[in-house]
Subunit: 379 residues, 2 copies
């Protein structure tokens, strides 16, 4: 396997854009990434596109709008982890020499297409049939975590306080407004103990990355970011670990750490999948950033805030930056590429050298994400 | 790149199964392929799943139902070419040594999910906005072919006669009934000159393939089928070739022939994308089976029928075997694996050694499939 570099990263602002389409959102993100790389669109050899709900040939429709044509375009769906799945296949294609320069796009227009998701439950998915949609699932997991480790509602809500504060420093974030612990705790209850402001919003947006064989990277930038590991696993039944642990997160991150030859103690900055505050709480532990049961304490002490020892979700995370499903995985990597290049302005983690992205998507008949992706990058 | 072998191939019968779901259709096909390979489901290292309309995590939902868990599962969408896109990524992953044994599944439940397709046109797709859906597009292409080459309505309809006759020999075909030229020509007009019986039906079904590194193939079968080429391209604007030629078919097949080191004259059996009779007419020419403009004559002379020199669509093709979108690409390869192993009973092409599958999917703002796949196999 060859070394793979990311030489360009771009995204749209996330938000509610009822008059826009995935075609122009995806193209804007791709143009931003191409410009970041100083690369012509004519150099792109293949495209890998992550999207959940926007119908057939999403990637081709975006590339058509962008004016790129004739390159193999592969569209990936893996729920909220769709563009990480696209990134994973793009990484393999470059690492193994199939292509030298590829484009990854993540995109979603949720304000137009939520229906596609709600209709999901006409399959044989027993959990969905019972009403165990995402908020319900994470509500149950939260209760279990509280029961096992004494985690409090305040600790949980503090995660949202932190991420919304980070969001105020990110011009690409859907929400750029500080929220107090009080405001978060007193917002409408969605799935006890998760209040509205602890759940990701509905939003639209696009994100894009340019990957090249590392030997070509310096033609485009003097700050290439290396992909040290791209681990991707799908759901596995739990083996006695309990609902307060997400085994996919444990397994996938351990595989990534081993491949990259680093451990959680080596990470300078992390973007993780905080679709609900609970997911950040549990992933903080399951990625090995602290012992099991201590994430609540960690966030209260500011360890995972910007300026703390292990900044988590400096972009604002899914909670504040937003979560247009297919766009999220690639957008996490966009943020980390910018962090490792020192381009994040007021939310810059000084001297960041090693970064980790954690993205998860989908559910089937078990309380685990259907797909989990962990990417380790080095600047 | 290592040599890749197909060691197992299975499918459900195609048809209208309102009480079934993609989970059990996909699992039935996968079990059939595993049984064909004599492989345990525990040996599968990754799954690549093609599906268009069935919502998030389709592959994980099928694997969950199948009892396979914990393997990376990547879901691919490329319209009617979805499982060829999945096959292509699976092929790359095995050829480059990322995995040794992978499962490819194609699946669709159209009787439940046509809505998802019809809703497609809320994007920025100008052709769809103008009503240029598939039948309209192929109607226009047919008229152009008639104008340029003198192709007749009878020649066109004869393709459907042939494929329906082939379908009577295939127990997996949705339709197993001979149709006369008269019946086909006098059926309801859909898009002049395409009558109803020259258009693929709505249907449900699943198909599956097991790919291994060739060095492992003989553990599972003494009749491995080698993948000699897997070419996959996306839409490119035409450069003055006219609407009676599908440039994606020309480009992709030439790439595949070059990789495999064979030409159209070496092919013993072909499965091609006859979503409408027109598509078989044009692909017969664009794959190089005959000079441009002569496909009508070829079919009238029986050259492309079973027993002819170049049997095309012995399975019955999309017209008679059926076309559950995501299932089609893998199902074409299933038929060819069976043909190359001499397992096709009454529709067997005797002594078939080299086979080609041609699959296409999607449209964007040009009269070309958004994705085209050509696979060359050797028995």
């Amino acid at each position: 396997m060859r070394k793979v570099a990311i030489v360009g990263a771009g995204m749209t602002r996330f938000g509610k854009f009822p008059g826009r389409y995935i075609e122009d959102l995806g193209a804007e993100a791709a143009l931003h990434a191409l410009e970041h790389a100083g690369m012509s669109h004519k150099e792109i050899e293949a495209a890998f596109v992550g999207n959940v709900t926007q119908g057939p040939s999403s990637g081709q429709r975006i590339l058509d709008y962008l004016g790129v044509c004739g390159v193999p375009t592969l569209n990936h769906e893996n729920g909220c982890g769709s563009s990480s799945a696209a990134f994973r296949d793009a990484y393999i294609a470059v690492a193994t020499g199939v292509f030298d320069r590829v484009l990854v796009i993540g995109v979603e227009h949720m304000t137009r297409r939520m229906k596609g998701l709600i209709e999901f439950d006409d399959g044989m998915n027993l959990l969905a049939d019972m009403g165990l949609a995402m908020p319900a699932m994470f509500g149950l997991m939260t209760r279990r975590h509280m029961d096992e480790y004494g985690t409090t509602a305040e600790q949980l809500a503090q995660i949202s306080v932190k991420n919304h504060k980070h969001g105020t420093l990110n011009p690409y974030a859907q929400y750029q407004k500080e929220l107090s612990l009080e405001e978060i705790l007193s917002s409408r209850m969605v799935s006890d103990p998760l209040t509205l402001l602890q759940c990701t919003p509905v939003g639209d947006g696009g994100s894009a990355l340019i990957l090249t064989a590392n030997k070509l990277a310096r033609r485009y930038t003097n700050k290439p970011v290396l992909v040290e590991a791209s681990a991707f696993t799908s759901v596995k039944y739990k083996t006695g670990v309990g609902a307060a642990t997400i085994e996919g997160c444990v397994r996938t991150s351990r595989e990534a750490y081993e491949t990259a030859g680093v451990g959680p103690e080596d990470l300078d900055v992390i973007e993780l999948h905080d679709c609900f505050t609970t997911h950040e709480l549990i992933a903080t532990e399951d990625l090995g950033l602290c012992p099991k049961g201590e994430a609540g304490r960690l966030v209260m002490e500011g360890v995972t805030a910007l300026g703390g020892k292990i900044p988590v979700n400096p972009s604002g995370g899914l909670l504040s930056k937003g979560h247009p499903l297919g766009a999220t995985g690639a957008a996490q990597i966009v943020e980390l590429v910018w962090q490792l290049r020192g381009e994040c302005g007021r939310r810059q983690v000084e001297g960041a050298k090693v970064a980790l992205a954690h993205n998860a998507g989908g559910i089937v008949s078990t309380i685990e994400p259907a797909a989990t992706s962990v990417t380790i990058l080095a600047g």
